[in-house]
């Protein structure tokens, strides 16, 4: 909310903290032994089990479930379960440390608090700056291979997940063919920037930076073409249609040999480069320059989407998610707003496609159904509707996948991603770092208020007769 709402009263400060010592012990016991505490213990134990199986020995073709048996019987599992219990204790004790932290912050920032501004306004800014600093400095401590993963698996996917977050998190639409727009962006780059990568090429060749707006618009148009007829469908049907669309694009990429070079993919797309006004720079093979470009773009997209979320457009999306019929009756053009979400999501995906194509070789495998599911997984894991959550979710999940690449073969990765998503949906549907609005919606729908379901299922009544 803007600070200009003079007539509005500021939200009440958080409730008083419980008294020290005895109160703290009671709080801890409650946090541990309440239904929620026990539920959390269950989640962590299951996560530990998944981690144990994921990093355990592999099965063989004769005995595919041997892996599960061996890793559960292995004494290693004790370590994982102990870690789970430790995590449970730490999470339960964390709120106890909060008063300490807030008094510390208050002491540091006394004059500001005295001026009457609620201090919690500053907390997110500080957190964000710290996170940004980590993002800027982190790659300096990483190996070459890790830097590559940082760009290919985290940077690009953070952008993709931010785009899909508009569709799933804001508008509440489930899009399972999201990666198709990524493919459109990547192939458009190959088409417009070089005459070598694809059997066909544009009559004039462009710098990859100039292809960015083209890819953005192309992907948005594709999104509108796909969305126009299908967004009238409700939740599950929309998912199926988008799934089909993703497959169509993937199959075209794979089979139209004389258009896309088929399964061999596109080689030789030029790297990003600037050569104008006396400025000359080539991004080359080193991942670091790409990383910083991606960082700038991801931050810019996060800021832009944050504004979107807090604007009339974001409120219309929230209204559609929560009660589509009431939204229509309140004058929200629901179809148009959904189409807008679709187009914005698609254009971000197309944009990411340009960066991806100019960074490295690609073939249709990069745009498989699995990649679509991966992005959906990342959004759900990070927290639907939460920009920061989505990006942190990408970093955590993709980072884990990178560090566990030796014990967990890439072919098995999706099994464990699947397990993580199932656990998240059962125990923490709001995701790693939930958006406040979304969290409220989920709580309310658990109490039977409102039609908000996590993936955009609207109530069946009241359609056009």
């Amino acid at each position: 909310m803007t600070a200009t709402t003079t007539a509005t009263t500021p939200p009440a400060p958080p409730a008083g903290q419980p008294g020290p010592a005895r109160g703290a012990r009671a709080t801890l016991a409650a946090a541990l032994l309440s239904l929620n505490g026990l539920r959390r213990l269950g989640t962590y134990l299951l996560l530990g089990l998944v981690a144990a199986v994921a990093t355990g020995p592999d099965g063989t073709a004769d005995e595919p479930l041997g892996a599960v048996r061996d890793s559960i019987l292995d004494p290693r599992i004790v370590v994982f379960l102990l870690l789970a219990v430790a995590l449970w204790l730490v999470v339960a004790a964390a709120p106890l440390a909060r008063p300490l932290v807030t008094t510390l912050i208050a002491r540091v920032r006394e004059p500001v608090v005295a001026s009457g501004l609620p201090q919690h306004r500053y907390a997110p800014i500080v957190t964000n700056l710290v996170l940004l600093a980590i993002a800027i400095l982190a790659p300096l401590f990483l190996s070459g291979a890790a830097r590559q993963a940082l760009v290919n698996d985290i940077g690009i996917y953070a952008l993709l997940a931010l785009g899909l977050n508009v569709v799933i998190g804001y508008a509440g639409l489930l899009d399972l063919g999201y990666i198709a727009f990524f493919a459109i962006g990547a192939y458009a780059t190959a088409y417009f920037t070089t005459d070598k990568a694809l059997p066909v090429h544009s009559p004039f060749l462009l710098n990859p930076f100039l292809v960015m707006p083209i890819a953005l618009i192309l992907a948005a148009i594709a999104g509108v073409i796909l969305g126009g007829p299908t967004l009238r469908l409700r939740g599950d049907y929309l998912a199926i249609v988008t799934l089909g669309f993703g497959e169509i694009i993937h199959l075209i990429a794979n089979n139209a040999d004389n258009l896309t070079n088929g399964p061999r993919g596109a080689f030789g797309v030029p790297h990003l480069s600037i050569n104008m006004l006396g400025l000359e720079y080539d991004w080359g093979n080193d991942p670091m320059p790409y990383y910083y470009v991606l960082l700038v773009i991801v931050v810019a997209v996060m800021i832009a989407f944050g504004r979107l979320e807090r604007s009339r457009i974001g409120r219309s999306w929230a209204a559609i998610r929560e009660d589509e019929i009431a939204a229509e009756a309140t004058g929200v053009p629901t179809l148009k707003m959904k189409l807008l979400a679709f187009a914005i999501g698609a254009s971000v995906s197309g944009f990411a496609g340009v960066l991806f194509a100019s960074k490295q070789f690609f073939n249709p495998q990069s745009f498989s159904l699995q990649a679509s599911f991966l992005v959906v997984t990342l959004v759900i894991f990070g927290g639907m509707g939460s920009r920061l959550g989505v990006v942190v979710g990408v970093a955590v999940l993709q980072g884990l996948a990178y560090y566990l690449r030796d014990p967990v073969p890439p072919t098995d990765r999706y099994i464990y991603f699947g397990a993580v998503v199932i656990l998240m949906m059962i125990f923490r549907p709001q995701g790693l770092i939930p958006s406040r609005r979304r969290k409220r919606e989920i709580q309310l729908s658990e109490q039977g208020v409102g039609g908000a379901d996590s993936l955009g299922g609207a109530r069946p009544e009241g359609a056009q007769a």
Partner: protein, 310 residues
Amino acid sequence: MSRHRRGDAVVAPRQAPTGAPSAPGAPGEDLVVDARDLTLRFGGVTSLDGVSLRQRRGEILAVIGPNGAGKTSLFNCLTGAYRPQHGRVFFSPEPGTTHQLVGRRPHAITKLGIARTFQNIRLFPALSALENVQVGIEMRQRYGSLSTMLGLPHMRRAEREGVGRAVELLRMVGLEHRIHEVSASLPYGEQRRLEIARALGTEPRLLLLDEPAAGTNPAEKRELAELIQTIAANGISVLLIEHDMRLVMSVAASVVVLNFGRVIAHGTPAEVQRDPAVIEAYLGTENGESTADAAGAAADAPALGRKDLD
């Protein structure tokens, strides 16, 4: 389907004793809504059977009738949520301009100037009271996604104005102390008023209220009656579905009675309550269906009616 205005006969126009409301349909009359011969069927069930309804500009018109009479169906036809099989609805937001509504989508009808509330409250539960009203106000704002993402000044200005107007409306319905509260956590009566504020945010020329007094206590009902009169005094026509006859008597200039999807009576509240067809519909002759509210109100109709007709 070309039809004569058969529906008019059903309305059974009467001359009001005080002489104030004249017979509807007179040439040159300034109607805000002129619904003609609406028929709505769901499979074999006929929900509306040739219903016609006329409302003068600025008037508070009440639609009453037993449960299942088709009142809410009528609202849904007027607002585009249902599409009647035949019949037409003419809506005139300003004198001289008329739009045909059947076949338009609900948001387009809202944009033309009809807003509504719902019988079973439909707020955006996880949004705050302020945000609920903002959604209504912002449907008239024009700034797009690009200027939003860039944070252009005209968009910020529009947003500030929207907040200001929303606060104004919340004050008007008496919710200024609830601005930042999640709408689902408000008490029932306040949720009803918030819904009215949200509807007013769309700048309607006609406001449809679907049982606004349901589940509210007597004090809230009095406030509601005042609120409805304030709204009408601001030049907004009000079409009201209500079971509470006291409320209807105190605010409505005329009443339309529906039963089994047909208009069975139309006139001032006092006339309607004396109408044998209405008494029969509410008290029942054979099937024994009755609504205590209406029966009680029908009994003391003269007393209440006198006050209203002055």
